[in-house]
């Protein structure tokens, strides 16, 4: 079944807070006695600390604490490689590394104290080039890399923090069958999540327990980080997330919660940190990774891709945040959603003295998709085939086998290709300075444990208490609808209690597009249990068989006898005097599919994709040939993200993801100096797209039954729309220029330079 959908009105539960200004974000919180925190940063990319003297800063009036690595437990941490410490120890490895933290009466005093810290260092050779960093004679970012604790499965060697390969079939044999061999090289610059809210943290101790209000996407991860670095049990650390002003992955992981908790403990006062925009650019371990790609494919004259071989280097930056799995993930993306018989990919995650990389919206995928899809159009041109036909021929389909040996169940990729091409008017005539281009992408759904409670109190009002985190997507908001549907109630009958690690069971957080996929399952299970309780109560009250009780329209009815009914509120009142309507749910996460005929080195489970999402974006662009300035006029997006549970929200995810992709394609890229420091850490120089730039977006959801998916057949959605946009723009541009612009972003100057050669 393929349906075209029209958004319907869905007013989010947190909406009134957000349009009236009454909703509180972390930086809006003020505690009595609160101090202001500031950090002193390294401001040098690679150096050995020879002197770090905080005595003058400590002596300044109004300064309540100055902390360095000497003042916190000596713990190395990191989810994949334990390669970092809260504060710099001996060596600084990127400019945003925290040397010291100050708490003072005012932000101005705190800043003055930071400036008064004496930092002397011996410069070390800067590692700024990903490929050079892999050379045997490259300076090391971490001299002690081999001594670090790390996940057993990681394949590491010097600056290569995580190597992964995927092999299927025999690429050399595949190349031998080909009529054309095309080799392409692409370079993608790093970029930023750039949520509009700069991060903030407030910490307050009461006795031996700390409460931390923080702008994190992953409260349970943040708690784990605090517990690990400050050596605290999880039940003494409570993370509460007020409204979160966007994340896009940039606020995943554990950031500064422990620093601020340590300052609050040292000063016995609440402490608040609020980042400036510059800090937001420079400091967090969450930049989108820069990458270098070399791809070779063999293609027969009939258009069949016979083999694909690729080499990828991913910029890990100075420390390994959650990036350990990037090498395997990028290997999947550079192979692409194609049914190619012979595939081999080698991927390296490479230490440099850049800001650490971390999961930004579909990590590795937009850059890799841009490279492989640009390359794919090069293949189509080599055999003189239309891009759409070429993809129909080679792309995955139901029953076909992907690069890691996964045989795909029911998927809608082919429908996405056809629909996107149709919506953009693929074969229409257009002016000479305009062109269309198209690209396909994919992204896994992430199965994970997740929990929720549902309760209905004596007045019939419901509450969902969930570990899930809302970062703006509306995923948590949609949980009300799932509970309401299960219980025959209205979404408005439920309030959400969320973003509080001490109130709710575990959830992975607003990461991996997983909220509805996993927490939706939990809420449905909990609501189902409430439904069971309600049916039992109704069966007694109505003297009917419990199997005949139907919950609908706020009441329990006897099937076939609609007149026999009792309002849920009455049943809730009855339960309030007895068993109480309380339930918990978690459900069993879907299991990973089997892989056959492939081998994976450095396997972190990123090659077997549960309920994969597919997409095709087609764009219409205009090129100013005199300057290289490109404008994106229209985007047609077709997505298979399974069943769409919240139409308005789903369209918003697609539209937002696309515009982020447009920015990534054209104007967003981190510029590093030879000193490995960022040169455009401000919104004037790092250019997000404005409303004046945003193209018209037409979205279509291919909704087909998905085996092994989330609630009601849903897959994830938040990241997928960010994947193929830049690639589609590249292909439109290449059709005007004759060949692709091989560096991302395809800035006006780079487009112009490409036209000169």
């Amino acid at each position: 079944m393929t349906t075209t959908t029209t958004p319907r009105r869905f007013v989010r539960a947190d909406g009134p807070d957000k349009v009236t200004g009454s909703g509180r974000y972390t930086a809006d919180l003020t505690m009595t006695g609160q101090l202001a925190a500031k950090f002193r940063y390294a401001d040098v990319a690679h150096a050995r600390i020879t002197r770090l003297d905080v005595s003058a800063a400590r002596a300044m009036p109004g300064v309540m604490a100055v902390l360095t690595n000497d003042d916190v437990p000596d713990v190395r941490f990191g989810p994949f490689i334990q390669d970092r410490t809260l504060f710099a120890r001996d060596v600084v490895r990127f400019e945003g590394e925290v040397l010291a933290a100050v708490a003072a009466l005012t932000p101005a005093i705190a800043q003055a104290a930071c400036d008064a810290i004496i930092f002397e260092y011996e410069p070390l050779p800067v590692v700024g080039d990903i490929e050079a960093a892999l050379a045997a004679d490259s300076p090391l970012v971490h001299d002690d890399w081999s001594a670090y604790g790390a996940a057993d499965v990681l394949v590491r060697d010097r600056n290569d923090a995580s190597f992964a390969s995927i092999t299927k079939g025999d690429v050399e044999a595949g190349f031998a069958e080909a009529d054309h061999i095309v080799t392409s090289r692409y370079v993608a610059d790093g970029c930023h999540a750039a949520p509009i809210e700069p991060r903030a943290v407030v910490a307050q101790w009461e006795g031996d327990k700390v409460t931390i209000w923080t702008s994190t996407q992953v409260p349970f991860d943040a708690r784990a980080g605090v517990c690990e670095t400050l050596e605290l049990p999880s039940n003494r650390v409570r993370i509460i997330v007020p409204h979160l002003g966007g994340g896009f992955g940039g606020k995943c992981g554990f950031h500064y919660e422990a620093h601020i908790a340590a300052l609050a403990r040292a000063t016995k006062r609440p402490v608040r940190l609020v980042f400036s925009r510059r800090e937001e650019f420079i400091a967090p371990d969450r930049r989108r990774e820069g990458m270098v790609f070399e791809i070779t494919s063999g293609v027969r004259n009939d258009g069949t891709i016979t083999a694909r071989k690729a080499w990828v280097a991913v910029d890990n930056g100075a420390y390994t945040a959650d990036s350990g799995f990037f090498s395997q993930l990028v290997a999947m993306h550079i192979a692409g959603p194609y049914a190619i018989a012979n595939v081999h990919v080698d991927a390296h995650l490479v230490y440099t003295n850049h800001q650490p990389s971390g999961s930004v919206r579909a990590p590795t995928a937009p850059g890799a998709c841009w490279a492989v899809e640009s390359h794919t159009d090069e293949l189509a041109r080599a055999v003189g085939m239309d891009s759409v036909d070429f993809r129909h021929l080679n792309a995955l389909d139901t029953g076909r086998v992907g690069p890691s040996g996964q045989t795909h169940d029911e998927i809608g990729l082919q429908q996405c290709i056809a629909k996107a091409a149709e919506m953009i008017g693929w074969n229409d005539d257009r002016p000479a300075d305009e062109a269309v281009g198209l690209a396909i992408g994919w992204w896994p759904s992430f199965a994970a444990p997740s929990g929720a409670y549902v309760k209905i109190d004596g007045d019939g009002a419901g509450q969902i208490i969930t570990g899930a985190q809302e970062c703006g997507t509306g995923a948590v908001m949609t949980l009300r609808q799932l509970a309401a549907d299960e219980l025959g109630m209205q979404p408005e009958d439920f309030q959400l209690i969320y973003q509080d690690t001490s109130a709710a069971p575990y959830d992975m957080g607003a990461t991996g597009s997983q909220t509805l996929f996993n927490n939706g399952r939990a809420v449905v299970e909990a609501a189902t249990e409430i439904g069971r309780q309600l049916r039992n109560l109704a069966a007694q009250r109505l003297e009917a068989n419990v199997d005949d009780i139907v919950l609908a329209d706020g009441a329990a009815h006897v099937a076939g006898t609609p007149a026999l009914s009792v309002p849920i509120a009455e049943l809730a009142a009855e339960a309030a005097g007895g068993e109480l309507l309380i339930a918990h749910g978690s459900g069993v996460p879907p299991s990973a599919p089997a892989l056959e005929g492939s081998s994976c080195v450095g396997d972190l489970g990123m090659a077997a994709w549960v309920a994969p999402q597919f997409s095709c974006h087609a764009v219409r662009i205009r090129l100013d040939r005199d300057t290289g300035v490109v404008r994106v006029l229209d985007v047609a997006a077709a997505h298979d993200s399974g069943t769409i549970l919240n139409e308005v929200g789903a369209h918003g995810q697609v539209e937002g993801g696309i515009l982020m992709g447009v920015g990534q394609a054209l104007t967003e890229g981190t510029v590093y100096g030879a000193d490995a420091r960022q040169r455009n850490a401000a919104l004037l120089e790092y250019k997000l797209q404005t409303i004046a730039d945003s193209p018209k977006v037409t979205t279509h959801f291919v909704q087909i039954p998905t085996p092994n998916a989330g609630p009601k057949g849903a897959k994830g959605l938040a990241e997928a729309p960010n994947v193929p946009t830049a690639a589609a723009i590249s292909n439109a541009l290449a059709s005007l220029l004759g060949s692709p612009v091989r560096q991302l972003p395809m800035s006006a100057e780079r487009v112009w330079e490409a036209m000169q050669s």
Binding site: P7, R9, F10, V11, R12, D14, G15, P16, D17, K18, V19, T20, G21, S22, G23, R24, Y25, A27, D28, T30, A194, P195, I196, E197, P198, H243, L244, G245, G246, G247, F248, S276, R277, C471, G472, T473, G474, V648, G649, H651, G652, V654, E655, G656, G657, I658, L659, M660, A682, L683, L684, L688, T690, I691, A692, S694, K696, V697
Partner: protein, 161 residues
């Protein structure tokens, strides 16, 4: 040095004692105590701090609070019609123009200024009118729709009246 000035915010006069170098957003958020106005960049590049001064949009991060004395300052907290959402606020919610919500107050202030100056803007005029407000979530489509719907509804009401 500090000085005491009267700031009129959403029709209420607030006597505040502040350093002359303070920017307006910090005074609104701290001394006045209204945190709906957000701070996202500190140099006029994001629009989250947008307020109206005498009806005109101003980035309050880059405006001295003392310069606003005795002028009419409007923040997002002053937009509602009594206890009812302003049509612009309601339409932003119904069209799906709000996700994380951090740009929303500034967006509302820019849209309010735009619609006051130009009650029936073209799509291009809405785009230019809101071009000083960055949103990272929505791709702007639903914000555009909400502002256009507000203008249309307002024009219909005027026609009926």
């Amino acid at each position: 040095m500090s000085t005491t000035v009267n700031l009129r915010v959403n029709g209420t006069t607030y006597p505040v004692t502040i350093d002359e170098g303070r920017n307006l957003v910090s005074v609104i958020r701290t001394e006045v105590g209204l945190t709906g106005t957000k701070e996202g960049c500190d140099d006029c590049e994001c629009g989250a701090c947008m307020v109206l001064i005498d009806g005109r949009p101003v980035n309050s991060c880059s405006y001295l609070a003392v310069q606003a004395q005795d002028r009419e300052i409007t923040t997002v907290e002053g937009v509602m019609n009594g206890s009812e959402l302003h049509p612009l606020q309601r339409n932003l919610l119904e069209e799906g123009g709000v996700q994380c919500g951090f740009c929303t107050p500034g967006m509302i202030m820019s849209a309010t200024a735009l619609l006051a100056a130009n009650p029936t803007p073209s799509e291009e005029e809405v785009r230019i009118g809101l071009s000083g407000n960055l949103c990272r979530c929505t791709g702007y489509a639903k914000i555009l729709a909400a502002v256009e719907r507000t203008a249309t509804e307002s024009a219909q009401e005027m026609a009926q009246a």
